[in-house]
């Protein structure tokens, strides 16, 4: 199998795993890992966009031009994207810390419920689902409150 294909599979695999992690996990740190994997996949895909097997660096030494040269543009782009990704990751982790301090949990389902409760309390209304929600939902909410 050629290297390009394996790398493409890896890139789309990372994108899939990352997306699944964001959508399916409820633990905040796992969700943040999902974002990191997703970004890694997207970056790898960008890098692969003009991948050529065995290409040389695009530098002309002693007037000799290499036969196949790598495209430097995606490499420069990926560098920028990685830096942005790291910044976002740091911000996400510091926010996660604040959320944990405020609510004492990193379970996003619980955080979401508390957030809804906070908004409703501040507005002076009942929880939006309390009137029409199925009995099971209400009893679960009351049990946890």
């Amino acid at each position: 199998m050629d290297t390009g294909l394996i790398l493409y599979v890896a890139a789309f695999g990372l994108i899939l795993i990352g997306s699944a992690g964001i959508v399916l996990s409820s633990h905040l740190v796992r969700i943040i890992f999902g974002i990191a994997l997703l970004e890694a996949g997207a970056n790898l895909l960008l890098l692969l966009a003009t991948y050529r097997e065995g290409a040389a660096a695009p530098i002309i030494v002693d007037g000799r031009v290499p036969l196949t040269m790598a495209d430097p543009v995606p490499q420069a782009l990926v560098l920028t994207a990685i830096v942005i990704g790291v910044g976002i990751l740091a911000l996400a982790l510091s926010l996660a810390l604040r959320v944990q301090r405020a609510y004492g949990t990193l379970d996003m389902r619980e955080v979401r419920r508390r957030l809804e409760q906070d908004i409703a309390d501040e507005a002076g209304i009942d929880m939006p689902s309390s009137a029409d929600a199925p009995q099971a939902v209400i009893s679960r909410q009351e049990g946890q409150a």
Binding site: G41, L45, L48, P74, I84, G87, L95, L115, E122
Partner: protein
Amino acid sequence: MNKLALLVALPLITAFLLPIIHRVSAAAGRWTGPLILAITSALGISLWGQLGDSAVAIELGGFRPPLGITLYADQMAILFAVASSLGTLLLWPGGGEDRVRQSTLALILAAAGSGLALSGDLFNIYVFYELVAVASYGLIAAKASAGSYAATMRYLVVSSFGAAMALTGVALVYQATGTLNLAQLAQLAPTHLNNLQGLAAFVLMLIGFGVKAELFPVNTWVPEVYATAPTRISGLLAGVVSKLALLIIVRLLVLVFHQPEALTVMLILGILGVVTGELAAWRARDFNRMIAFSSIGQLGIIFIAFAIPGKAGVFAGLAVALHHLVVKPAMFLLAERWSGSLTALAGAAKNSPLAAGLFILLALSLIGVPPLPGFWAKLLVLVELSEQSQPLYYLGAFVILAGAALEANYLFRVASRFYRAEKDHKAPAAHGMPELATASLLCAGLAGSVFVLTPLAEQLEGIATQAADASHYIQTVNPEAPP
């Protein structure tokens, strides 16, 4: 014409100098931000005057595309760049002990917003988009309450997901064409991107940039953020930032992605946005979330309008988008004192009669009651929709009409409460001067535009004609391109 770059560079440089300026003199630090935004807005308006109906492209650092990055300015780009500066100026976050940090972030938001409007390079757009996102995270969390942290966190997750999707789309485009310059992409698109890969790239970027434009499946952050963020920031995000994201999607549709399926996808998501947004707004029981959901519905209408092919779609979409750009921030400014339960608003007109009047004016325009501009914008969309042959467009028109009925119901339910005083109930406090003044200014603009509708519509049609002309864009950026 190199002054164009100042629209982005000036607020960006000032943003990072602001902490130093503030240390030297607190008063100077306080006024520098608004002053710089006023200067960039004036600069943008003067550029608008100079350009007339021609467009201009500059190469940053003198590097020609595809190696260099171009800034492209036609009337639409400058209009939204000015909207970004002027909108941030009007909705300046200002207050609190945290003033320096918030001012810095607001300046970054304005700079990146102008950058989004002017950039002619896909990757550059992605970078500015992330910059807007990061600045808005900080501004939302500025309230430093448990709720605002949690809402920011959830927004960050959705937004990062969207950004990664957009980056994947960018990678697919680069893979197919080998360039990210929008003008070159426009030249290569008919041969290289008119296939399944191109459609996939568009859908990925639609989802990615749609996060900020409150597009249907990726708008879960909207009610939470607008309920917990400072109201001025909510107004800025709903009014200005969402339009900048839309501008990118429109540019991509005009220049790069010509597949009819691309328009269909956008139309369907727009229809779903109107249905879900308006129904949720109808059910909402607090003021902030009501206008948050209503904003999802309104942006759905804009997506439907832009899904109409050709110049007509750009014209109709621009009309609804600009209307929403003026109305929504004013609505959020009124939410400053009225946030909270809708039943608590009983008798609010006694303490703040002007605010109640403004709300009714805004509500009438949002619903689309003649002769207010909102009516003409919606009428334009409906007329253009009715001229399409595909049945899905009629569904769009029907959904817009049904949405207007729902809007009338929930907005007037609130308005009638203003004038119904109840015993043993303390009416909400009167609005502060800055909020009321800015909201009045926006409303005056809205009401004043009724008297200049014809020239305004002609101007808007000119902007749309220019923006919908892909060959004009190509010729401006690269004069040697074959016509």
